[in-house]
Structure formats: C-alpha cells, structure tokens
C-alpha cells in the first residue's frame, strides 16, 4: 500500500487504511526479544548448539518455565487493569499468600473438601480487593498507600493463621491445580479448538465488517496473522506434550488471559476503565460512574490474587508462609509494565502482561541454568524493566511514569 493512501484527500474524505493502525508493533518487538533471549540461553547452555540435551530448549525445561510463570502471569492480568486506571496494587502478593494459607488451614485443620475451599477463597479474595478498592475510590486515599497498608496487613494475616508453622499436606484433588498436566489428547483437542476458534473469529469479524462496509484489511494480512498465532499454539502444544502435557496452572492462566482480554476490550466496563485511566475528567463528562468502576477493578484484582494463592498452595503442597517475602506483586507490576502497560494510565494490554511474565521467567530460568548467581537475574530483570519503558517513550513519544 502506498503512503498516499494514508494521506488525506483535499475534501477531507475519510480514507480507509485503518488496518495499518492496528498492527501491533510492540507485541512483535516483544516476541522478537523473547526469541533472542531463548536463542542466547540455548546457545550458552548447549555449548553453542553442540549438545541440546540438558539445555534451555528441552521440552522439560520449557514446561517448567511456563509453570513457573503462571502465578505472576495470573496476577499480571489483573494488574494491567489496575495500572490502566492509573492505580497500583501492592497487596496482591501477601493477599495471595494469606488466602493460600487460609486454604491450607481449611483443608488440613478443618478437613474441608477442595470445592468449597475454592469457592470460599475466591470470595475472600474478591472481598479483600473490593474493600481496598472502596477505600481508594470512595474515601480517596491514594492506591499506593491503601495497598501498601494492605500488604502489611496481610503479611500479618499470614502469621496469624500459621503462627509460623507449615500447614501441610494438601489432598490430591487440591494439588491437582498446581501440579497436574492435561493429557496429550486433551491438549491437542484444546489446541485445535483454539486454532479453529481463532479462524472462526477472524472470518466472522471479516464478514461483519464487509456487511457494514468497514472492511479495510487485506485478506493476506488476516491470514498471516492467523497463521502466526496458529503456529505458536501448535508448536507450544507439541513441545509441552513431549514432556508431560499442558500444566494445569498454565491452562488456568491462559483461560484467565482470554477472559480478562475480553473484559478489557470487549465490554463496556473495560472501555470505561481505559477512559478513567486515560482522562478522568473526560470520563466524568461522559457520565461514567468513576468510583464504582474503580472499586470493581480492585475487586477483580483481589479475585485473581486468590486464584494465584490457591495455585501456589497446590504447588507447594502447603500453606505458602514464604509468600510474604516473595514480592510477587512487584513481579506482577513488572510483567504488566514490560508488557506495555503505561504507569500514567489509559494504555495497556492483558496479553502483554503474560508476555512480560514469560520474559521474566525466561531470564530467571535461563540464567540459573547457566549457573550464574541469582544476583544476575535481579540485575538483568531490573535493566530490562527500565529499558522497556525507555523503548516505549522513544517509539511512542509519550511520557510514561
């Protein structure tokens, strides 16, 4: 397409070149960065590709990597929404730990079965989030302060429940959510369903746009996009199936990513969130209930903290007493920011946080495989975080905090 088509005609006629505006160069850049990281780690762990067994790129290692990123990825989904509103949530790490310990106590001490624990814990998470959100939105105390307070409160909460003891063991039905794998068959069924679902979505969208006369995208571009996603899905399932299959926590993360992407981009609630974060005065002039929507965002984030806490307990097979010192909320914030979410609000994508979480997990995993001191992981992750924001400022000419 020539550049003239993007220019305006003298009469000011609306020129259709919209599909170009929708190319997501940032995601493409992030995928490229991820690919480079993987290539580098593989090179350094395989004596420059001479012996791939036991290197970074083995199915077993990649499977572990995805499992390791699931918890931060899940928290990142909610954190994107929070940061998009211009807020922050520093409490999710210890809230997750608190709920994880509560779940362990329910099962080990009170001998509850798994399903009611899940329901009650999810509810507790949502209520904690809603409470903090209400204080932020209606009382007007800064989110940073409220959730920093929340972080300390639930750090205390963990000690209240556990009194420093380890609460273990969990039942098989509970551990399932942290340790199990989907069988190869089910993995394939899901992968094929996802690939076909994506195609159906693309075709339906094209048909609708053609009907409404707003179709502006060449079919080749659409097919290329679909093929790229399909390839990623198929390769991922092949690799994961070569080890033990799709890990259940990763499945949960992917489902939540899908759900939260739909919430963010396809519901009126999501649109309102972006408007509130982008320009709160314009949101008010548009009749948006700013406070109520803000409170709901923090409630959703609390709900996700509960999911993360349950998975953490299932994986550790015990109440995660150490959660207070894991700084998971900071990892979730970093994942969102590396994934393109702007700290000044109004901009960010849920899927970006998943990519961000994957980049960070890859650094952790790859560097420990290279037998480097953990110090290096922090150093590199910190630099990547700042570099990502710098990159955004350079490419978008927009100020980010």
């Amino acid at each position: 397409m020539s550049s003239e088509e993007n220019e305006l005609t003298a009469s000011g006629r609306y020129v259709r070149a919209g599909w170009r505006q929708r190319i997501d160069y940032r995601t493409i850049t992030m995928l490229a960065v991820l690919l480079l990281l993987w290539l580098g780690f593989t090179a350094f762990t395989s004596e420059y590709f001479s012996d791939l067994s036991g290197s970074f790129i083995t199915a077993r290692n990649l499977s572990n990597l995805t499992r390791a990123m699931a918890i931060v990825g899940i928290m990142g989904c909610g954190m994107v929404l929070v940061i998009v509103t211009g807020g922050i949530d520093l409490s999710v790490g210890t809230v997750a730990g608190f709920i994880g310990c509560a779940a362990a106590a329910m099962q080990v001490w009170w001998e509850w079965s798994t399903p009611p624990i899940i329901v009650v814990c999810l509810a507790i998470g949502a209520v904690i989030g809603a409470l903090q959100g209400t204080i932020i939105a209606y009382v007007g105390i800064a989110a940073f302060i409220v959730t920093l307070g929340g972080q300390l409160v639930f750090r205390g909460g963990i000690l209240f429940i556990t009194k420093g003891m380890t609460i273990a063991p969990m039942r098989e039905s509970f551990k399932y959510f942290g340790n199990a794998y989907l069988s190869a068959t089910w993995g394939w069924i899901l992968a094929v369903a996802a690939v076909l679902g994506l195609l159906a979505k693309e075709l339906r969208q094209r048909a609708a746009r053609r009907r409404y006369n707003t179709l502006d995208e060449p079919s080749g571009f659409m097919l290329a996009r679909w093929a790229a996603y399909a390839a990623i899905i198929v390769v991922a399932i092949v690799v994961l199936n070569r080890y033990r299959g799709l890990p259940i926590p990763v499945l949960i993360m992917l489902v939540l990513m899908l759900v939260f992407t739909l919430i963010a981009e396809k519901t009126t609630f999501g649109r309102k969130i972006y408007a509130i974060g982008g320009n709160i005065a314009a949101a008010r002039y548009s009749g948006i209930a700013v406070k109520r929507n803000l409170a709901v965002v923090y409630a959703l984030n609390g709900l996700l903290a509960a999911v993360a806490g349950l998975i953490l307990t299932a994986r550790l097979n015990a109440g995660p007493t150490s959660a207070a010192n894991m700084n998971m909320e900071l990892d979730a914030i970093a994942a969102a920011v590396i994934g393109g979410t702007s700290m000044s609000g109004g901009v960010g994508k849920v899927a970006g946080a998943i990519l961000g979480a994957m980049i960070m997990a890859s650094i952790d995993n790859g560097m420990s495989m290279m037998n480097l001191m953990p110090a290096w992981q922090f150093l590199v992750k910190g630099m990547i975080l700042v570099a990502a924001v710098w990159f955004d400022m350079r490419t978008q000419g927009r100020k980010r905090a």
Partner: protein
C-alpha cells in the same frame, strides 16, 4: 543600545506576533509613562494577554521594537525581563503555599551566607520585615503563605515586585478574586506605587474600575492598536464602541429553522459563581450565552449538566421538573455538554477515535456480555463521514488529530445518542477558520434536526452570527436577553460590562 526615551518608561511599537494560522498581534503599540496607571482594554481574545506575555518575556516577537527605560530589549526571556525591571502579577497567583511569606518574596534570590552554601534566613526575614514596614504591610514574614487571603497574596506579590526594583508592574485582572474591601487596599497600594514613580499596566474588563484608576487608556482589538489617550478623553460609550467596532466579516452559515416547543427551562438557578438565572431553550433554537470571562456562564452550564450541584432554583426538561445530581442523570434526560477544554475534559487522548466516539452510548452496541465490534465500527464510520472528520482511520489515536477534528470527535460522541439539549462551551476556541465554519454548519444541522443548543462564546461575532436569542451575563447575574434582530455588538457589550 541607548535610545531617546521621550519621558516614557516603556514604548512598544509595531509588535507582530504570529502563531500558526493566527496573527495574535498585528502592529500593536503602547507607550507608558512613569508614575501612571495605564489601563489596557479589549474584548476577550483581543490580544491583551499575548502582549503582556511578550513584554514579560514568555513569548518572543516576530517584528517590532520594545524600548524599556531607554534600552531596547531583544528576545528577552522572563529572567531578563525581571532584571530589566518588569514584573508581572498574574491573574492566577501561583505562590508556594507551604513556604513562609518571606521565602516566597525572595524565592530564587535568597540572601546567602557561608560562601553561598546556606540560605541566610536571618537576613531573609530581616529584609522582608524592612520591606513590609516600608510598604505598610502588616503580615508576619514568618507565616505560611497559605494563611493569607487572595488579596493578601496579591499584596505580597506587589511587595515582591517592589523589592526587585521593578519600574513597571503588569497587573492582569488583579481584582477578579477580591472583595470590595480588598480592592480598596489594592488601589491604595497602587496610588502609593505611583508616587514612587512606578508605572503600572492594568488589564481589566470592569468599566467602573477603569474610570476609577486609569490615568491613560489604550484600546486593543483583534491584536491591533485602536486608540490611546488620557482617561478623561474616554467615556463608557466610546470605549465600548472602540472595543467592538468592527464590521463582521466572518460569514456564519446560520440556517432558518422552525422553532419548536420548549425543551429546557431554567428558573432562578443559583450556584457557585451565579444566582437567580432564568432562561429557556426551544427545539431547533440556538441560544447564545454571552458575557465576559468569569461572568458565570460555564458555571451555569456545569450545573445544568450535573457536574456541580446548584444551590437554588429549578430545571425543567420537556416541561417536567427534574433533579439533576449527577452527569448520568442529565445524560439519561438527553442533556449533553461539550466542555471548553477538549484535551483536559473532552477526550481520552491516548485512545482511538473509535473508542472516544462510542464512549458515552456504548451500551447500544452490546449484544450478550460483549460489544459487537462490527456494529460499533459501522456507526462510528458513519459519523466520521457525516461530520467529515479528517483522520486516516478510526483506530488512530485522537491525540494525532488537529483541533478542529478533535472537536468533531467530541460532537460525534454526543450525536451517537438521543441528545435533546446540547451545551457547547466555546465550541470553536483554538480552531482554525475553515474547521470553525464547519463546526458552525454542524451546529445549524443539529438545530435543524430539532436539537436545542446552548452556546457559550466569548467571541461576539460568533454569538451574533449563530444565536437565535442571546442571554447576556454579568458577574453571575443575567443582565438581559436579546433576540437576534435586536442584537448588536454594542448592545451586548453594554450589558456585559456593567
């Protein structure tokens, strides 16, 4: 360079200042004598503020000459202007409220000790005390700035200007936030300054003030010098005709639209900044709200739209009394408002045109739990085409659009729904001529479709050209109402200034 000064402290001549697409100052001149108050008058947007910003060094000029105290100033910046002896007291004061009064007076030029490493606070407070004693100001220099009233802060600003040895002080509508007593205090200080030989350029809209305080008057209109002379040469009649005396060359595409039933009626409405205001708007009608900046026009609109709660009075929509407490209430009743500040209050700049247009009435595209993206795209595209928004795509960020096109996006947002009353606050401010007349044509079309429009505008030609009826406001009160055929610039200006 030393220039002959002819007894003037300041001579500005042939000043030209252009902004992209607009000539803000065109051959503007002003001459100010020491020890006098020189009042600068002109309509909203005549170029007074631009002229003063040029003088205080905030803007550079494209042509012209500024001679101050016998020295020609070249491209001075604010610090140079201050050093040259020019001080400006802004309409909106910006003191650092949590510092002490003395710290504010000497901000940026604190007396130092220990080879300039530490602030000499003893000297700071002693100097301020001396200064205040000299000027008869009774505030404690150690008190926090925030303990002062607006008038108090203004006095401190004046003291600051004097302590800088300013020989010219610019005051931009200094009384707009003052009570009557405070105004008297200010005027006494001004008289005191005159005896010291300090020249004052005083910008105001208020007629009574002009004739109380002025020694000389300069009238500015459309960025051009119109008249200058001793205050005795002018009376209110003459000033008003000089301020507005222009042939209206802008062509307004005003359509004749059959006027329908009454849609909105406001009775005795009062609130922050206005009281006892009554007016009504009928379907197909454009009612102009005229008045000077600060007359309470925006405040009325905000109250009707539900942004600020009115303290008294009633609002009727379609003859039925309504309680509007929140914006959501007014939107549900079909009242919409386009604010005067597009970027701050109208648009989410970092989001796309599409998302901005569909923000308010997004609900109509929802099927099941999700938005029907294709239906949304169709409607938004229709609107972009009808309003002729110049944009490469509805997915472009709104921040990339020009001012006129951004304003069209804001209008599109409300057309998407069923709006009965549309309030437009300065709908064409900062928009170039071409887009301006398009917005005007659009307003005419909306009226033709039976919408009732209220337009707040500080541009008299726009008010005269677009309105069926004109409500004139002065200091929070309705001064009168004019129908289109009786409306003249002079008639409106007379009501607006007194």
């Amino acid at each position: 360079m030393i220039v002959e000064n002819d007894g003037y402290v300041l001579e500005m001549s042939g000043i030209i200042k252009e902004f992209p697409g607009v000539k803000a100052l065109d051959n503007m001149s002003i001459k100010v004598r020491p020890g006098t108050v020189h009042v600068l008058v002109g309509e909203n947007g005549a170029g007074k503020s631009t002229l003063m910003k040029v003088l205080s060094g905030a803007y550079s000029i494209d042509a012209g000459r500024i001679v101050f105290n016998g020295r020609e100033l070249h491209d001075q910046n604010t610090a140079d202007a201050l050093n040259a002896g020019i001080s400006m007291i802004h309409q909106e004061l910006s003191p650092i409220r949590d510092m002490t009064i003395a710290e504010n007076v000497f901000l940026g030029r604190e007396p130092m000790k220990m080879r300039g490493f530490f602030i000499d606070f003893d000297a700071l407070y002693r100097n301020t005390r001396d200064l205040f004693g000299h000027l008869g100001i009774k505030y404690d220099p150690g008190a926090k700035m925030r303990t002062l009233s607006v008038a108090g802060m203004q006095l401190v600003e004046i003291a600051k200007a004097i302590s800088r040895d300013a020989s010219l002080i610019i005051m931009d509508e200094p009384t707009s936030a003052l009570t009557e007593n405070e105004v008297e205090v200010l005027f006494r200080q001004i008289a005191e300054l005159k005896t010291r030989g300090v020249a004052i350029i005083y910008i105001t809209h208020k007629m009574d003030e002009i004739f109380t305080i002025a020694d000389e008057i300069t009238v500015i209109r459309d960025g051009e010098w119109i008249a200058s002379g001793p205050a005795a040469d002018f009376d209110q009649e003459r000033l008003v005709s000089l301020m507005v005396g222009r042939t209206i060359t802008d062509i307004f595409p005003k359509q004749t639209v059959p006027v329908g039933r009454e849609v909105l009626r406001v009775e005795n409405l009062g609130g922050k900044g206005f009281e006892g205001v009554s007016f009504s708007v009928r379907a197909g009608e454009i009612v102009g709200l005229a008045g000077l900046v600060g007359a309470g026009r925006t405040e009325i609109a905000r109250a009707v739209f539900g942004l600020d709660a009115p303290s008294s009075g009633k609002v009727f929509i379609d003859g039925e009394e309504v309680a509007i407490r929140r914006v959501r209430d007014s939107i549900r009743r079909g009242v919409a408002m386009i604010s005067e500040d597009r970027k701050e209050e109208g648009l989410v700049l970092q989001r796309s045109v599409r998302e901005n247009v569909s923000l308010v009435y997004l609900g109509q595209f929802v099927s099941g739990p999700l938005i029907d993206g294709a239906a949304e795209r169709r409607r938004v595209e229709e609107l972009i085409e009808t309003l002729r928004v110049k944009v490469a795509s509805m997915d472009a960020e709104v921040s990339t659009l020009s001012g006129g096109n951004q304003q069209k996006v804001v209008i599109a947002k409300w057309i998407l729904g069923d709006v009965k009353v549309l309030i437009l606050d300065e709908p064409t401010r900062g928009i170039d001529i071409g887009a301006k007349s398009e917005i005007h044509r659009l307003m005419g079309n909306l009226a033709a479709r039976g919408m009732a429009l209220i337009m707040i505008s500080s541009e008299l030609p726009e008010i005269l050209g677009m309105s069926d009826r004109i409500v004139v406001m002065h200091e929070g009160k309705k001064k009168g109402e004019l129908v289109r055929r009786d409306a003249t610039p002079e008639a409106i200006m007379h009501m607006a200034v007194s």
